[in-house]
Amino acid sequence: MTAMDVPEAPAAVSLKLTVNGRDRSATIAPHRTLLDVLRADLGLIGTKECCLVGECGACTVLLDGRSVDSCLVLALEADGAEVVTVEGLARDGRLDPLQQAFLDHAAAQCGFCIPGQLVAARALLGSNPAPTRAEVEDGLAGNLCRCAGYEQIIEAVLDAAEREGPAGSAATRSRPAAAAPGHGATGTGLSDPASVPDARVAPQ
């Protein structure tokens, strides 16, 4: 097949997804990433952009309950899916226990990595409501913090887990769809396992 035979990609396609419980739609060029669409089209600036190669975790969001690097996910891969960003963690004006614990433990220094840390921690507690310290370290290993506030971040996650209790997270209870697929099942048509950041966490 020569280059001439490659069908031209459509200039724009429509996208529908649920973000933080709200139905959203956008008309986008098909090559754009979920990160880009969240930030530029939907105005959700809480999700951050840094490395764009799935290494730093600043762009972590929940996609049908699983944490993903939104820089590695085409927006179209999220068509019909449910996305939770940092803006969706607080409910009814009340901070998520993780957010409160991050405040109480001074876990946010410059703050730039914090949205990704929080979302990754939310995913971790969704699948493991009572993690050990080592499990928290594994769960957040894909989220770089150059302020290196890791000790306080880890303490905050452990504290939040304790505050939420063994029944699991408030977010899980109030939003079953976010947690239902759990680890290992995507239900989103994601075909490339490399785009699922759980694969990047290799416990020591």
């Binding site: 600036i45 840094c50 490395c51 901070l95 946010a108 594994d138 894909g142 150059r146 890791y150």
Partner: protein
């Protein structure tokens, strides 16, 4: 300390923390400007190239492209800028100096269009010989990095040495003759990068009669001066908006591409925006690499007789603030010791590599790596315990240890003793583990000027204006704590305004861990100004003489009574309401005769002790315990201080164990970006990280505080290397202590052992 320290030293939650955990914190790249054009930089694939021509026409044909800026579109001669030397051009003119040095820039309606157009700017260039190492740059026939015409009267102009710094005291010759033991070695520190998780972001927009520039910068007032000078505008017409940086670590101190964007915004007549990729930040900022030769002479009893240090820093293609890091990092390089004779020489060497700049520690970690490693080697040669050797030589409180500079301003021995005790220095480590200890000293700011305005509003709430950048160190919280305590407001009633040069009074800079001290003192002075106005108000209301009234910690005391400030305020302001405005200034004057232009406002002192094991088959170093003890004077916010100390410690483990730029033969950074350049993650933490602070209230800042954000990084490398030696017997004099380097050292040890075994 007799003062009531209500509200100081606790850990109120970070002011601005809620925005940081809800995603509401807007960094530069999060700010949407109407009609903004997206900018991408055009570079050539060469470390140094003669630019023959730049043809913008093909790029201009890309739909959506509005401007292709080339040197031909800029004034002739090309405007240049830089904090120490005006050597950096807006765009490379005639010749590029490093991989990533832009020759043109594209502005387009979309980022896609800008990216497409970058590849269509036709640049004809001819690669030129280039230098990437200290040796190559200092060779007799080395190609020159900088045009000698930029410094015509400088004797170094025909070389790649930008400057040489020499410091000396005592009689070195006599001390050498009297020394019993001389220990010497050469130590290498690689290029590492700041890697703030927020890549540098810049925007510029034409204003009615001036310009507005947004930048993730640490020094907005400095940037304002640069832009005003380049555009020939009055300062009042240059507005720099500087939202909290998403990490900076020194890499965001000085102007980078803001001047270019200002010219582009004016030419396009539209706002422009440039957000660097992480890869581009690697090509924008780094720490200076260094090679340091140390000779130390000792009496047999362990007393230091002399120290002779010769250092070269590879600073890169443009000077930025790098030469200052060399000057300042070398000035204190003999360490926190009382030494009769010292000679220090240090050169900043230009090269065709990424310009280096400030990075947490500011030129000191390179020297401390060398000098403290040398100290450890000396301890073993002398047969003296490394802790005892340091305690024996440390400058005592109040002792002048660098002639003409600030005497030792803390009980440094206390930090060493606490670190040693905590790690269990007196009891042997378990089999297979090694321990190491080191100390680090850094001079705080040598000059300073900070202003603050504080407004006590009619209901007793407070607005503080401070030109400091809160880049994660938590300055906003500290300032709110000070104002809350002094004016009797709950901290939740204090708003701190930062980051806008049209609104906020002048602050020299956010660097050198200065802000709690210098800006803190300015805010304290502004609060005291308000207190004196409240005193006059109370005198009028209560009809008592002002002299008998005291205002402190939120209360007004008179006639044996205590009135809340708010009561006096509300009555004093009367029916029209209004507010009480205080202004404060904090100044540390320059001293022209001092080698650095001023004495140290304070010293940061840290002692780090670690316990490691080394995997003999892989060379992998595991840090089991990491104890870091910093003399902070007074911890104004305990949890924030802990975050700074532990963050600095882990950042130090990064350059100690894993970080370095690796170059190919053509001067490209091979590990360009997050996939191949590793920084510490949660899986790289010490098994136990323990931080302690020394608080003797002996600092020059509010309530006895010192600056403290860099100390815990300074001596991590020599402490870990000493522990590796303790565990394995190998001495390694180059960083990082990567598995490969450690493994090679172990095999060399084994080979040497076999050879000596065979011959014996």
């Amino acid at each position: 300390m007799t003062a009531n320290l209500d509200g100081i030293g606790g850990s109120p939650n970070r002011v601005g923390g809620a925005a940081r955990v809800t995603g509401g914190q807007a960094y530069v790249a999060d700010i949407a400007l109407d009609g903004v054009l997206h900018v991408k930089l055009v570079t050539v694939d060469a470390p140094r190239a003669r630019i023959l021509s730049v043809d913008a026409a093909p790029a201009l044909e890309v739909p959506g492209v509005r401007l292709v800026m080339t040197p031909a579109d800029l004034p002739d001669p090309m405007p240049r800028f830089g904090p120490q030397f005006r050597d950096r051009p807006l765009l490379a003119v005639g010749e590029t100096k490093f991989h990533g040095d832009p020759v043109a820039a594209v502005a387009a309606e979309t980022l896609d269009a800008a990216e497409e157009a970058v590849g269509r700017v036709a640049v004809a260039f001819e690669p030129l010989p280039a230098v990437f190492s200290i040796d190559a740059a200092q060779a007799a026939d080395a190609p020159l990095v900088q045009d000698p015409a930029l410094r015509p009267d400088d004797p170094f102009a025909g070389t790649n040495t930008l400057r040489e710094h020499r410091y000396a005291w005592g009689d070195l010759e006599a001390a050498e003759a009297a020394a019993d033991v001389v220990v010497e070695g050469t130590y290498e520190f690689p290029m590492v990068t700041q890697f703030a998780i927020e890549p540098h972001a810049f925007m510029a927009a034409p204003a009615d009669d001036g310009i507005t520039v947004w930048s993730s910068i640490q020094h907005p007032n400095w940037l304002q001066r640069v832009i005003a000078s380049l555009l020939e505008l009055p300062l009042a017409k240059v507005r720099v908006v500087a939202p909290d940086p998403g990490g900076a670590f020194g890499g965001k101190q000085h102007a980078k591409y803001e001047p270019l964007l200002a010219f582009m915004a004016r030419r396009a007549g539209r706002p422009v925006r440039l957000v660097l990729t992480l890869e581009e930040t690697f090509q924008a900022v780094r720490r200076g690499a260094a090679r340091v030769h140390v000779r130390s002479g000792f009496q047999r009893d362990g007393h230091l007789a002399f120290r002779d240090i010769d250092a070269a820093y590879l600073i890169g293609a443009y000077a930025d603030i790098a030469d200052r890091t060399v000057a300042k990092g070398s000035y204190t390089s003999a360490g926190p010791y009382a030494i009769p004779a010292v000679r220090i020489r240090a050169r900043s060497v230009l090269s065709h590599t990424v310009p280096s700049t400030a990075f947490r520690g500011f030129g000191n970690p390179q020297q401390i790596w060398a000098v403290e490693s040398n100290m450890d080697e000396a301890a073993r040669i002398l047969g003296i315990d490394p802790v005892a050797l340091r305690l024996q030589n440390l400058a005592q409180p109040g002792e002048p240890f660098i002639p003409g500079d600030t005497p030792a301003d803390g009980r440094w021995a206390e930090a060493v003793e606490r670190a040693a005790r905590r790690i269990g220095w007196e009891t042997p480590a378990q089999t297979g583990r090694g321990r190491g200890i080191a100390v680090g000293l850094k001079s705080g700011p040598t000059t300073g000027l900070s202003y603050s305005t504080v407004r006590l509003l009619a209901d007793g709430s407070v607005v503080v204006y401070a030109g400091t950048s809160d880049m994660g160190q938590g300055a906003r919280t500290i300032f709110a704590q000070i104002a809350a305590r002094e004016l009797g407001a709950p901290i939740e009633w204090v708003t701190v305004v930062m980051g806008d040069t049209i609104v906020v009074p002048y602050d020299q800079q956010t660097s050198a861990s200065r802000s709690s001290v210098l800006m803190g003192n300015a805010i304290l002075a502004a609060c005291r100004d308000i207190q004196s106005k409240l005193r006059a108000m109370a005198a009028r209301l209560e009809d008592v003489p002002e002299e008998g009234i005291e205002v402190d910690a939120g209360v007004v005391r008179l006639d044996g009574r205590e009135l809340p400030i708010r009561d006096v305020l509300v009555r004093g302001l009367g029916r029209l309401g209004g507010e009480v405005i205080g202004v404060g200034e904090s100044r540390k004057e320059a001293e022209p005769d001092h080698p650095l232009g001023g004495t140290a406002a304070f010293y940061e002192f840290n002692c780090t002790a670690v316990e490691v094991s080394v995997d003999e088959t892989t060379g992998d170093v595991t840090v089991h315990r990491h104890v870091t003890v910093s003399d902070v004077g007074r911890a104004l916010n305990a949890e924030q201080v802990r975050g700074q100390d532990e963050g600095a410690a882990i950042m130090g483990l990064g350059h100690t164990l894993m970080e370095e730029y690796i170059f190919d033969a053509e001067g490209r950074i091979r590990n360009l970006g997050a996939i191949d350049y590793k920084i510490p993650t949660t899986l790289d933490l010490p098994a136990r990280l323990e931080s302690e602070v020394i608080e003797n209230g002996d600092g020059p800042g509010p309530y006895g505080a010192k600056g403290m954000s860099e100390g815990a990084l300074l001596c991590v490398a020599p402490a870990v290397a000493a522990a590796v030696r303790d565990a394995t017997g190998v001495v390694i004099r180059a960083l990082p202590l990567s598995p490969e380097r450690v493994w090679r050292a172990l095999r060399e040890r084994d080979a040497a052992g076999q050879a000596s075994g065979a011959s014996g």
